[in-house]
């Protein structure tokens, strides 16, 4: 299959590209970021998804399948540009897919879609609406992009669209939202709260995406690794020290004195869990994560050893 990966220079996308190439697919990719070490056989275009040059890739190369991984979180892009990348970018992707006869699209989304609320069910099913959005406005554009991508299911019924809501990655190379929160030697917690975290190892994400592609998945699916683990267990078992601080104090300290930079609203994500029910995906693809929670934590501990004496 001729597969176009958008956001191919990202850590997981690179692994996916290599895996698909090895599996005999023809792989091309687009990213604004460089990928100088791209393996031979992968056609890399350094362009912005929203620009005409990206449309040219669709027009000239006519991919059969598109994997959209070119969305960003507040950790990497701040302000209005993030919303433009996530929403205008996603719109451009689906427009091009329709105009140039793409048969299958995978939208790679996030489980934070569901939001962290005190009164929501522990295990979220795909049929639930996003909650507690007002607490974390910087997630709104990602939630909107997820919902927008799902409209392709009825707007472009001739295309096989799947929206995947994937939990936090943890492992090697140790990037991602949760990993960046665990970077320091001491990790702040909200005193009196210890939410479950649902994680998946990077290689398992690649396996899940490959399965979704090859099984021609259609619909909305939660993707998770092993069962969730309490935040305190992840912190301790990765060799870090949990530092429980009262919520109001922690809110004032964020971004200062070496504390992780995150919004006050994002504190709800270390108070309440976001855990997903992934039965639908497992039944549709036969996916089973190769890495259990203990192995994921050990891989991360080895890949991201403790820094110096600072936070």
């Amino acid at each position: 299959m001729r597969v176009l990966i958008l956001g191919i220079a990202g850590g997981i996308a690179r692994k996916l590209a290599t895996r698909l190439l090895d599996a005999g697919h023809e792989v091309l990719g687009i990213d604004v970021r460089p990928w100088s070490s791209a393996p031979e056989g992968i056609e890399f275009h350094r362009v912005d998804v929203r620009k005409r040059a990206a449309e040219d890739v669709f027009r000239r190369r006519r991919p059969e399948a598109v994997i959209h991984m070119a969305t960003v979180t507040a950790l990497s892009v701040r302000g209005g540009e993030r919303g433009r990348i996530n929403l205008d970018g996603t719109k451009a992707v689906f427009d091009h897919c329709r105009d140039y006869g793409v048969k299958q699209v995978l939208f790679v989304g996030r489980h934070t879609f569901y939001g962290a609320a005190s009164d929501s069910p522990l295990y979220h099913s795909e049929d639930e609406p996003p909650r507690a959005l007002e607490k974390v406005p910087e997630l709104a554009d990602l939630v909107a992009a997820d919902l927008y991508a799902a409209t392709a299911l009825w707007r472009m019924p001739e295309m096989t669209t799947a929206v995947l809501r994937i939990v936090y990655t943890l492992g090697a190379p140790g990037t991602g939202t949760l990993a960046s929160f665990l970077r320091g030697r001491r990790v702040p917690m909200v005193l009196g709260y210890d939410p479950l975290f649902h994680v998946i190892q990077e290689e398992d994400v690649v396996t899940a995406l490959q399965l979704a592609l090859e099984k021609r998945l259609r619909g909305i699916f939660n993707v998770a690794g092993p069962p969730p683990v309490p935040f305190s267990v992840i912190i301790r078992e990765t060799g870090r020290t949990p530092v429980p601080l009262p919520g109001p104090l922690l809110a004032r300290l964020l971004g200062r004195f070496g504390f992780p930079r995150t919004s006050e609203g994002a504190l709800s994500h270390i108070k309440y869990p976001i855990v997903v029910d992934n039965r639908r995906f497992r039944e549709a693809t036969g996916f089973h994560p190769a890495h259990d929670e203990g192995r994921i934590i050990r891989i991360f501990r080895e890949a991201s050893p403790l820094p110096g004496a600072e936070w």
């Binding site: 005190s118 009164d119 069910p121 522990l122 295990y123 099913s125 909200v190 005193l191 009196g192 709260y193 210890d194 939410p195 479950l196 092993p226 069962p227 969730p228 683990v229 309490p230 267990v233 078992e237 009262p246 919520g247 108070k271 309440y272 869990p273 259990d292 929670e293 203990g294």
Partner: protein, 268 residues
């Protein structure tokens, strides 16, 4: 339970899928359950001197719903019920209650309810736990039940009907239980709803000695034979209400039997 057997040994005999960190897929933690069980075991044995009857009616494995009356201004009844399932059953089981929504908003309450399997009372939680063959505890009187005053302590307020639809949908047997003594332990003379709103709780119970701390009144638990209803859970409200009335009358009967036994013991 043999007194020599430690709480830790009983925790190890809980038939829950704990991982290498001692945590199950719901976040129930061996460490936290052990700490809570140790504290509650002291209250159970020496403070409330709980007498437990009919524990053999609780299935040793598989899904079941324990349905009881509320007794006492807050969760003493539920705590003692969980403790009886843990201490008196062979093998021990973890009862999982359906907690009031406000609990998960408070620090520490959020942590401890999560780590001991006492989740917010949502139909999604009840359904999932039963499908997973867990032991669910339900108090269909809800917060209106805990708000009963001292003089109303042996009465029952209206039962909700959601539990019956869940039991039918999941084909779960219902084990009725009558709880006595909580209303004497926390002799509520009034409930302050306004203060409760300010604090973010349903109400604050007031006792003759003002503080809502429990007195060392003896508590009794009377489990009855399991009831099974067949259906789909999609029945009309009046059909469901009829089933609920049967459960309610069984619970009322268990409370009545408990009171009679108590009179006989005190008898001439």
């Amino acid at each position: 339970m043999a007194r020599e057997e430690s709480i830790a040994e009983r925790i190890n005999r809980l038939e829950l899928p704990f991982n290498e960190f001692g945590v199950d897929p719901y976040g129930i933690s061996k460490k936290h359950v052990a700490l809570a069980a140790s504290a509650f075991a002291v209250l159970y044995r020496y403070y409330f001197r709980v007498k437990c009857y009919g524990i053999e009616h609780v299935p040793p494995r598989g899904r079941a719903m324990i349905v009881g009356n509320h007794s006492g201004g807050y969760a003493i009844d539920g705590a003692m019920l969980i403790t009886s399932l843990f201490l008196e059953m062979e093998p021990p089981r973890l009862g999982q209650g359906m907690a009031e929504k406000f609990l998960n908003r408070f620090p520490f309450a959020s942590l401890w309810t999560s780590r001991t399997g006492q989740f917010t009372g949502l139909p999604e939680h009840a359904h999932r736990l039963l499908e997973d063959d867990r032991l669910l505890m339900v108090f269909p009187e809800g917060a209106r039940g805990t708000a009963k005053l001292y003089r109303e302590r042996y009465s029952l307020v209206d039962f909700g009907t959601g539990f019956m639809r869940l039991a039918l949908q999941t084909r779960a047997p219902i084990v009725p239980v009558g709880i006595l003594g909580g209303g004497t332990a926390v002799p509520t003379i009034a409930n302050l709803y306004g203060l409760g709103r300010l604090l973010g709780v349903p109400y604050v119970p007031v006792t003759p000695y003002l503080l809502p701390l429990p007195l060392p009144a003896p508590v009794e638990l009377h489990y009855g034979e399991p009831l099974t209803f067949s259906g789909t859970g999609d029945e009309d409200d009046d059909v469901i209400a009829g089933y609920v009335a049967q459960v309610k009358s069984r619970v009322a009967g268990l409370i009545e039997r408990g009171r009679e036994l108590r009179h006989q013991r005190r008898g001439p």
